[in-house]
Amino acid sequence: MTAPDMLQILDETGQATLGSEPNLDDVTLVKMYECMLSTRALDERMINLQRQGRIGFYVPSTGEEAVQIGGGLAFGERDWIFPSYRMPGTFLMRGVEMHDLVANCFGNEADVCKGRQMPVHYAFAKQHMVSISSPIGTHIIQAVGAAYAMKHKQAGAVAGAFFGDGGTSANDFHSGMNFAGVWKAPCVFVCSNNQWAISVPLEKQTASESIAIKAEAYGMPGVRVDGNDVLAVVQVMNEAVFRARQGEGPTLVELMTYRRGPHSSSDDPTRYRGNQADEWLSRDPILRFRKYLERRDLWSEEKENLLQETLAETLKTAVKDIESQPQPGLDTMFEDVYENVPPGLREQYGDLVEKEGTGHEPDPDAAFPL
């Protein structure tokens, strides 16, 4: 493959290249669109809450919805996904409730992770969505280990590792790709190449022609796809997951997209890039897919408005339910370090509640810069 060619099915007007569409039934197509829109709505609401100081931090994924939904669709229930922090949409696709994602962002008793991690560091075992870690890249090799186990146990399952362009510079991108190649592990590596790592542009991240071409260093195929074209994403991801499931080994998929928003609620992109992001408005993955669905009479203005209302409502009630809940109990701070709380920790907990007191309040000025 000559790296820079990029698979595209839908052009910017939502016109599909004849006969190239993956065969997806109408219900699925609509569900995909609904998830993309839900993701956008969640992001907007959460950013809003963060601005109001009601949650501490958030990472928007605006403009990368096709990556999340197309990337998620290709995997089956028994497959495991090792996600990055910029893909709430994949959680929604796989059946995680909006409510539970919101709960994580509040980090109180409603949060299944007991408020231990920052917002957007989700973990949902039931849906095989692995715990998100802040350190970049560490999960890539873990996905390969899980894939090895799947193969070893003949589970017929596949592992997906999602990461960004910056993630390809991390140590465990290298170990992960290399081990997967040698082991022919049933693993799909998905790079959301949004061309920025906070303020660092792609050309300062790597000198390679593309991310996809890095696959050759590990003896696996690499494919570059228009990451704002959800049908192209589904098409390529389906092939990659199929290959893995067939025992043909790993694939690296590069999804070309753009980080339209700030890196996170703490970032100010105007410091390092002008209004470059605007060029990407016209390539919006949601808009493009909506045009396609409308051409096929699967979507309409009315449906759009209706869905928007439902989403607003869902988010409103979720926030209302969750925000009022108390912070996790002090005991949660000492649990889950080991399977059983060891004597030393019991003692520390005891001293804390009996003697040392916990009366003081969270620091109101504490604010996350990144």
């Binding site: 231990r116 991390a170 303020s199 701070m333 920790l345």
Partner: protein, 324 residues
């Protein structure tokens, strides 16, 4: 005199040293046009250019490993690790290479450089943006470990670190990056490495601390003073090489010791202070050595304010040893 934040003090120290010595270069993630996620390197790239203020790929082992090579060839790099929680990919370069280069080559090759990195809690950063990693580095011979607690020290110690012939890990307490501000003289100065500072004199007990815990220590001593107990606050400033003389002198005077750190307690840095005193000055001790520290759990997000040692917890420890 001007009143500045620690962020500004770090920025000033870097700018001054880069003007003084053209071999000084900065490298790290987002240190360039973005000026660092905490703004410590703000405007340096526009003054010194992209060759001296380098935005690197996302690889901490790459940042430190390349900085070692630069230093060996004669540059004086000041790599930044964006959060100390992300320093682990570089741990091999630091522990196996940086700290041992001079020794294994019998001085033929050296790599003086300063690793700057923000550490500690208090910004609602959760598990991976809050940790205090000093105890993972103070056990490694060959490294110097510095932790400032004020704008004055941040500037003076960083300048001294950049001029040091030995590799320095410079831990910046991010909780107090922007407040309170502190006075800094207009004229050039450095603060000598390896010397602790007495922040408050007292004869009843010694309270050791560093970084963001210094103000917590001071607050606790105010409470103690109300009870008539005068505490001596020792800001260690340099953890390695430790100012053991200052520690023993103070404890000999007071006969009581409470140590304070943000990092988890077990095998934390302060345990070494207990061990030194128990080995060399046990005869002066009139009470147990109490340690106030983070709990032996990962750093929690929502319960951060409970996890981090606060004046009340410190005061409780003081009460115990005074009541002894």
């Amino acid at each position: 005199m001007s009143e500045i934040t620690i962020v500004q003090a770090v920025n000033d120290a870097l700018a001054e040293e880069m003007r003084r010595d053209e071999d000084v270069v900065i490298l790290g993630e987002d240190v360039g046009i973005n000026g660092g996620v905490f703004r410590c390197t703000a405007d340096l790239q526009s003054e010194f250019g992209e060759d001296r203020v380098i935005d690197t790929p996302l690889s901490e082992s790459g940042i430190i490993g390349s900085a070692i090579g630069m230093a060996m060839y004669g540059l004086r790099p000041v790599p930044e690790i964006q959060f100390s929680d992300f320093i682990w990919p570089a741990f091999d370069q630091i522990t196996s290479e940086l700290s041992k280069m001079r020794y294994r080559s019998a001085g033929q090759f050296t790599c003086p450089l300063v690793i700057r990195t923000p550490y500690g809690g208090g910004i609602r950063g959760g598990l991976y943006h809050s940790q205090s990693p000093e105890s993972y580095f103070t056990h490694t011979a060959g490294l110097v470990v510095v932790v400032p607690s004020s704008a004055y020290d941040a500037k003076g110690l960083l300048k001294a670190a950049i001029r040091s012939p030995d590799p320095v890990l410079f831990l910046e307490p991010k909780r107090i990056y922007r407040a309170p501000k502190g006075e800094v003289p207009e004229e050039e100065y450095v603060v000598e490495l390896g010397k602790a500072a007495v922040r408050r004199e007292g004869s009843d007990f010694t309270l050791t601390c560093y970084g963001a815990m210094v103000s917590v220590a001071m607050e606790a001593c105010e409470k103690a003073a109300e009870k008539g107990w005068e505490g001596e606050v020792l800001d260690l400033r340099t953890l390695v090489p430790l100012d053991e003389a200052a520690l023993l002198e103070s404890v000999t005077k007071t006969g009581r010791l409470v140590t304070l750190q943000e990092a988890p307690k077990f095998c934390g840095f302060s345990s070494e202070l207990s061990a030194i005193v128990a080995e060399k000055a046990i005869d002066v001790l009139e009470a147990p050595i109490k340690r106030v520290a983070g709990f032996d759990v990962p750093f929690p997000y929502t319960l951060e304010h409970v996890y981090m040692p606060h004046a009340e917890r410190v005061f409780h420890a003081i009460e115990e040893i005074m009541a002894w």
